[in-house]
């Protein structure tokens, strides 16, 4: 019932910006604080990947994050127009990373903290990650008096 789209450049400052914007959108639905913490981790991983892997050594790459809330929950997409991924299946393996400094846990976290993850990528053209998170209503229907 609400949607937003956020565009920014590939600098690490913007990981926090993306987290905060998606969290503000998510807080309009019946997510618990823990749900929102977990959504923030997934967003942070996807945006960090776009910056680090999508645009290596570049700070002018465009990144777009969208969020959509409906009765089914929250859908987040993170898209870049960077180098793309050759082998998506391999990239999604736990502990696989092309960068020895990194842990290879980004996709694992996205999968664990969200309910459904799709990755599309074309080498040389870019990468698009779509993640969904269901609202699971526990206890009372509305959390506040609004």
């Amino acid at each position: 019932m609400n949607r937003m789209s956020l565009r920014f450049i590939s600098v690490s400052d913007n990981v926090g910006l993306a987290r905060v914007a998606v969290a503000a959108l998510a807080s309009q639905a019946d997510f618990s604080l823990q749900d929102i913490d977990e959504i923030k981790v997934a967003v942070s991983e996807a945006v960090s990947n776009a910056i680090v892997h999508g645009y290596p050594g570049r700070s002018d790459g465009e990144i777009q994050v969208t969020g959509m809330l409906d009765a089914g929950g929250l859908t987040v997409t993170v898209e870049d127009w960077g180098v793309g991924i050759e082998d998506i299946t391999q990239a999604r393996q736990p502990a696989y990373s092309q960068d020895p400094e990194r842990m290879g846990l980004g996709f694992v976290f996205m999968e664990s903290f969200m309910h459904g993850l799709q990755v599309e990528s074309t080498p040389g053209q870019g990468t698009r990650v779509e993640m969904h998170r269901l609202v699971t209503i526990s206890g009372e229907l509305s959390r506040d008096a609004q």
Binding site: G16, Q34, S44, R102, M103, L105, V108
Partner: protein
Amino acid sequence: MTIVHTIQPTRIVVAVNGDLDLKTADPLREALDALIDRYRDKDLIIDLADVDFIDSSGLGVILGRYRRLAQRNRTVSLAGIRPSVRTVLDLAGILTIITVIDSPIRKEAR
């Protein structure tokens, strides 16, 4: 992110404040490595009581320091872990290899 460190007889206590993510990974790594190299016989304690958010970039820094110190028979421990941070550390299996100090580190430090 801000970092405050205290040097104790057997350990370096580093209190971190802020989000541990891609933005803060490099400065945090550099600050910890400088302390590790300077105090060559001490263990490292990272106090996360003022850290609300961590992702795999932040975890990477902690695990990297753990590996560096383990090679020299020194240890890394974590203190003050909040629930939002614990979920992420748990999922990564870090709590099975790194010691967690549950008591408030600032009191214990006396």
